[in-house]
């Protein structure tokens, strides 16, 4: 026992000796501050032109900041409470469907984070456009150069077989589909990181604050939420679209910051139910601050509603991003899954004068659609799985 | 243990309700709990019987099983029969059971707020019940509902009939619940901890109300954990422990001299003296032999033999029975009985 010769009975504790613990430096905070310092240094070095500018734009900085938040307040605490984290993970992986979803999301995150760095931007290769995936064939007349064998069909139709150079085929610009999927995943990951790092914590904080404080604070916050719930994010986005550059950042800011009202309300009503529970009273009577009570007692006990709702919001925003991109309101250089699906479904528009049916180039739309579906389904499954895994009563 | 008592019960009157060897199990994922494990008793017309026991003794399950009110599953009535006016309620089709349940046997529950539907006014709920039982025009039903509310002591019933349950206090809700129970003029009211959720002054009024109900000839089966409530209401007492009835008898004699060691322990807890043993958490009730033996100060070897001991007469009194080997033939119950008398005395002085 590390306590050495400290008395181990409560009546022998010398209370005047124990100072009130003021552990302001937690590992999470340390990591966060270190990360911020690193960013600051990088910015300064860039500004002073000591290191070359890598062309980081707003979005990259926001994403990096979001990643830092997720790392320091999500990953670090999980490592600190590794026993709990391990139990949760074990629970999660013990059910096949949820386990599969967790593995999928894990692979997705790694690919999305590292893929674009490794692969770089996809090159235009018009001569290789509309190659079919490996093991399938596409009409040959679209290609300037068919990489695979050419198969004779009926009459004058000739088919070009897919090759391993483009295992998932290519789109109208000759971008490899695999590469596009990775690009789309990175866009999606940006959405997820932004939502998880900023939107969900904001919603939770507002809900908990309103519920715990009550009174005028509650009135004010909830009136604001009511107003916010009445403003359709899509309208805000279109207004922004008219006046500023279209960018993913605009989408994230408008949708992200206008869509958390529902979660805030949910969190507030759950908080109200916990506020008068015995353990909250006890913690308060011991001098625990409201922040302590919220962190230690309220938030862990509302995960049953908060976690699924948060994951629902993640899935929703991923879908919104894809939807907006599908409609064409996206930055041309962002290869979102949504825009790729759209290209595959509208060959008249994308196919540069070629006559074709969407089903003839099915791979262009099917693969990203599949990726989108899997991602959203996994998010939902993980949401429910985490809820169950976090509840010791189950 | 079940066959010897039926002949001994007051045979002069035909019992209104006869329960014989009732057994109810709860099946959970992990185990099967024998919630009610062979309960037999009878209840006569106009009589008030209290079923007393601590939480987990199976008293509520017993009551709700009488009319098959327990949710099946997880509960399962695995044995025994319940006869109401000589008709077997379990053998009869469920329709008849339901009719008897609504018309002849009425239930009152511990938590009145949850027994009333919060989205309907108390008037709507009362009138609905009245219309189920008799064919009356709406206005008459309303008048009758007001009358019932007045009968159970709701002030300004004509105004309050249109209020929602949340606008009533706990005691008033319980009165409404009793009014609903009385609509069909039942022969038997089964009240499960009817006064547990209310304050003592309100409890006193509810006790008086229940006494009025029985004065009208209705039988009453009260489930309670509170010896005081039992003392105030009961003609006869059934003491339940670990799913079985361990002692029964007329209230006055039983209070004067509790015979079964468990009953004695219960009385002792009222005197403020704990059983003395360093009993912390309730140990699991053994599955055979006397259920109480792990906690019983008088336990002997014979206690772990066979099944729960049969009911033996206590003293010369044919009505008093205790399920304890010390009262068996050839044994001298003197020491055990004496302990009971001392406890009751200590109790009396405390009051």
């Amino acid at each position: 026992m590390s306590a050495g010769d400290d008395p181990q009975r409560f009546e022998d504790v010398d209370w005047t000796e124990l100072e009130r613990s003021r552990r302001t430096v937690t590992p999470a905070r340390a990591v966060f501050v270190a990360g911020l310092a690193l960013f600051g240094a990088l910015l300064a070095l860039q500004a002073a032109a000591v290191v070359p500018n890598w062309g980081f734009d707003h979005l990259d900085w926001i994403t990096a900041l979001g990643a830092l938040v997720v790392l320091s307040f999500g990953v670090v605490p999980a490592l600190e409470h590794h026993a709990l984290a391990r139990r949760v993970l074990r629970e999660l992986l013990s059910r096949p469907l949820r386990g599969a979803a967790a593995v999928f999301l894990g692979v997705f995150a790694i690919v999305a984070a590292l893929g674009p760095v490794v692969l770089g931007s996809p090159d235009l290769a018009f001569e290789h456009r509309f190659h079919a995936p490996y093991g399938f064939t596409g009409a040959d007349r679209w290609h300037a150069e068919c990489l695979g064998d050419i198969v004779e069909g009926e009459g004058i139709t000739r088919y070009c077989e897919g090759t391993l150079q483009y295992p998932l085929g290519t789109n109208e610009r000759g971008h490899p589909m695999g590469h596009l999927l990775v690009e789309g995943a990175s866009v999606t990951l940006t959405v997820l990181v932004f939502t998880a790092a900023f939107v969900v914590p904001l919603a939770t904080a507002v809900g908990v604050l309103a519920g715990v404080r009550g009174g005028a604070v509650d009135d004010l916050l909830m009136s604001y939420v009511d107003v916010q719930l009445c403003v359709p994010a899509i309208v805000a986005f279109f207004i922004g679209y008219m006046y500023w550059n279209v960018s993913l950042a605009l989408l994230l800011v408008t949708f992200g910051l206008l869509s958390w009202g529902g979660i805030a309300r949910l969190v507030r009503s759950e908080t109200l139910q916990r506020r008068d529970d015995g353990y909250v009273l006890i913690a308060r009577s011991l001098g625990g601050s409201w922040t302590y009570v919220a962190k230690r007692h309220v938030v862990p006990n509302i995960t049953n509603t908060l976690v699924p709702a948060a994951f629902h919001l993640l899935a929703l925003l991923v879908l919104v991003e894809a939807g907006v991109a599908f409609l064409g309101f996206h930055h041309v250089e962002l290869y979102s899954w949504g825009s790729t699906v759209q290209e595959g479904l509208d060959p008249e528009f994308a196919g540069i004068g070629l006559e074709m049916q969407p089903h003839e180039i099915w791979w262009v739309s099917t693969f990203p659609a599949l990726a989108l579906t899997l991602t959203i389904a996994s998010l939902k499954l993980i949401g429910d799985g985490l809820r169950d895994a976090l509840d010791p009563r189950l | 243990m079940t066959d010897d008592h039926i002949s001994d019960e007051r045979t002069s009157t035909e019992p209104l309700l006869a329960v014989d060897g009732l057994r109810v199990h709860v099946r959970t994922e992990r185990e099967t709990i024998r919630a009610v494990d062979g309960v037999s008793f009878e209840l006569c017309r106009g009589e008030t019987v209290c079923l007393i026991g601590e939480s987990g003794s199976g008293k509520s399950v017993t009551c709700e099983s009488l009319t098959r009110l327990v949710p099946e599953p997880p509960f399962e009535i695995v044995g025994g029969c319940v006869e109401f006016e000589g008709r077997d309620l379990f053998a009869a089709d469920t329709g008849r059971c339901r009719r008897v349940r609504g018309d002849r046997i009425a239930h009152v529950f511990q938590n009145p707020q949850s027994a009333l539907d919060p989205v309907y006014t108390v008037g709507e709920q009362l009138i609905e019940t009245i219309e189920i039982h008799e064919d009356v025009p709406k206005t008459n039903a309303r008048d009758r509902a007001i009358g019932l509310l007045r009968q159970v002591g709701i002030p300004r019933p004509a105004d309050r009939i249109d209020d929602y349950p949340h606008e009533f206090s706990g005691g008033m809700c319980q009165r409404v619940a009793i009014a609903i129970a009385l609509t069909a003029e039942p022969d038997l009211v089964v009240a499960d901890e009817p006064t547990t959720a209310v304050d003592v002054t309100v409890q006193a009024r509810l006790i008086e109300l229940l006494r009025e109900v029985t004065d009208g000839g209705t039988s009453l089966l009260v489930v309670t954990h509170d010896l005081r409530v039992a003392a105030a209401l009961a003609d006869r007492l059934l003491v339940m422990y670990g799913g079985t009835i361990v002692e029964r008898g007329p209230i006055e004699e039983l209070f004067e001299r509790p015979a079964h060691p468990y009953t004695q322990a219960l009385f002792e807890s009222y005197a403020g003296r704990s059983a003395g043993s360093d009993r912390t958490a309730r140990g699991d009730v053994p599955a055979d032999g006397c259920r109480f033996r792990s906690e019983c100060p008088h336990a002997v070897e014979a206690c772990s033999d066979g099944e729960q001991p049969p009911f033996y007469a206590v003293g010369d009194d044919s009505d008093r029975r205790a399920s304890c080997v010390h009262y068996g033939p050839g044994n001298d119950p003197g020491a055990v009985l004496e302990a009971g008398a001392t406890i009751a005395e200590a109790e009396g002085s405390d009051d």
Binding site: A3, F10, R23, A283, L390, P392 | A232, A265, T280
Partner: protein
């Protein structure tokens, strides 16, 4: 409030307590009102007087019981003492120091030395934490950063409250109600407090478990010389556990004294109703005391004068010439009309008219009262009731049946040791106390 409870009320109580040193906890004229506000702008439209002038003192190691029915304000009083609710008036002193002036280290000390045991064992523990963590929470909050040491202390303590050291790793839902209450006690004890505020410590338990938990608390309190403020609606618990007791009604302390004295020969009419409502353990004695009327007034609009007056069996008559039974019947008539309880035969609400005689019979009203003014008033009121005009009847009775109980608030009684807030115990008012069970 200061006029009603002159300074020294708590001091008087202190004098009555056994120890002459300053008491551990001193509550003087404590007042906690909650504003009733409109939904918008939070304009205050009224106040719920949950606690309205409560004074008592608790000595080191003493058990003081606060009894009362739901809505009497006893839990709010406890929360106000611990600072969980903001008191709107009065003073709470802990170890001679005003609690709301404590800061820093001293406040920290108060928060350690005064612990709370909450009522409902089912929500007393954070369901997401193993109970060991919950029991150790006070240690962690009070600066014990060494987790091993916390664990060792908790393990030792769990065994001393009758559980096992390994129970620390289990979750709250795995325990029974009685076990959870033991854990609650352990959590309160772990920081070695001087005062435990136990809010209905056994109301969720029954029978032997209740007795066990109560005797555990009692043993621990004696062993460590801890004062306990025990909030309960259960007279049996108070009788068994408390040295002294205070009785609350509608936010006020109406009687306070040695447990024996208060419970065996209650002086205040409300205490008498409370005690008399408990069924006797003797089945041959089935009498139950009734208040004059049943309805408990709302704490937002308490009756004037003595708050118990519309329900008081011992209400002081306007003149001494009235027979006690007669006066009681008249008073009951008046307050029953006020709360709207009309007996069956009259049933004014269904629109039928009755004759005044029926009204008199229904309320058992006496005839030929010696006092003319009262006779007239009763006569007029019965006629008004017969006509279905309850409002007029109420006014007429209120006009001519005015009693001192309704007009002025009773002060603390003359005796310091045994406080009774009732005019009958005030020597300046011409009314004798009625003997208990007399």
């Amino acid at each position: 409030m200061t006029e009603r409870f002159p300074k020294g009320d708590a001091e008087a109580d202190r004098a009555g307590a056994s120890d002459t040193n300053s008491p551990l906890l001193e509550v003087d004229g404590l007042e906690t009102h909650f504003p009733i506000t409109t939904r918008w702008l939070r304009r205050e439209v009224g106040r719920i007087r949950a606690v309205d002038g409560v004074s008592f003192a608790i000595d080191r190691g003493e058990a003081f019981g606060l009894v009362g029915e739901s809505g009497s304000g006893k839990t709010t009083a406890a929360h106000s003492i611990l600072g969980l609710e903001e008191p709107t008036g009065g003073a709470v002193r802990f170890d001679g120091q005003l609690v709301d002036e404590l800061t820093g280290w001293e406040l920290q000390q108060f928060r350690r030395r005064a612990q709370l045991v909450v009522q409902n064992p089912d929500d007393a523990f954070n369901p997401r934490l193993p109970v060991g963590k919950s029991v150790a929470e006070p240690l962690a909050l009070h600066g014990m950063d060494d987790e091993e040491r916390r664990r060792a202390i908790v393990a030792d303590l769990l065994e001393r409250v009758g559980l096992e050291a390994t129970d620390a790793n289990r979750f709250p839902h795995e325990f029974s109600g009685g076990e959870k209450q033991r854990l609650s006690i352990a959590r309160a004890l772990v920081v070695n407090p001087d005062l435990i505020v136990a809010d209905e410590p056994t109301s969720a338990l029954d029978g032997r478990v209740k007795a066990d938990v109560l005797s555990l608390l009692d043993e621990l309190r004696r062993e460590f010389d801890i004062a306990v403020l025990c909030i309960s609606h259960d007279i049996d618990v108070v009788r068994r556990f408390c040295d002294r007791v205070g009785v609350m009604y509608l936010g006020e302390l109406v009687e306070r004294g040695e447990t024996e004295a208060v419970l065996e020969s209650p002086a205040h009419p409300y205490t008498r109703v409370l005690i008399g409502s408990i069924p006797s353990l003797d089945p041959s004695d089935r009498s139950l005391v009734r208040p004059l009327t049943e309805t408990v007034p709302a704490p937002s609009d308490p009756p004037s004068g003595c708050r118990f007056h519309p329900r008081c069996q011992e209400l002081i008559p306007p003149t001494a010439s009235l027979e006690r039974e007669d006066w009681r019947a008249i008073a009951r008539f008046r307050f029953a009309l006020q709360e709207g309880t009309v007996p069956e035969p009259i049933a004014v609400d269904s629109g039928t008219r009755v004759d005044p005689e029926t009204v008199r019979d229904a309320f058992d009203l006496p005839t030929d009262l010696p006092n003319e003014g009262i006779e007239d008033a009763v006569e007029a009121a019965t006629r008004a009731v017969a006509d279905g005009d309850l409002e007029r009847a109420r006014e007429r009775l209120a006009e001519s049946l005015s009693t001192v109980c309704e007009r002025t608030q009773p002060e603390a009684g003359d005796e310091c040791e045994h406080l009774v807030r009732c005019h009958r115990y005030d020597s300046t008012i011409e009314a004798e106390p009625i003997p208990w069970r007399g």
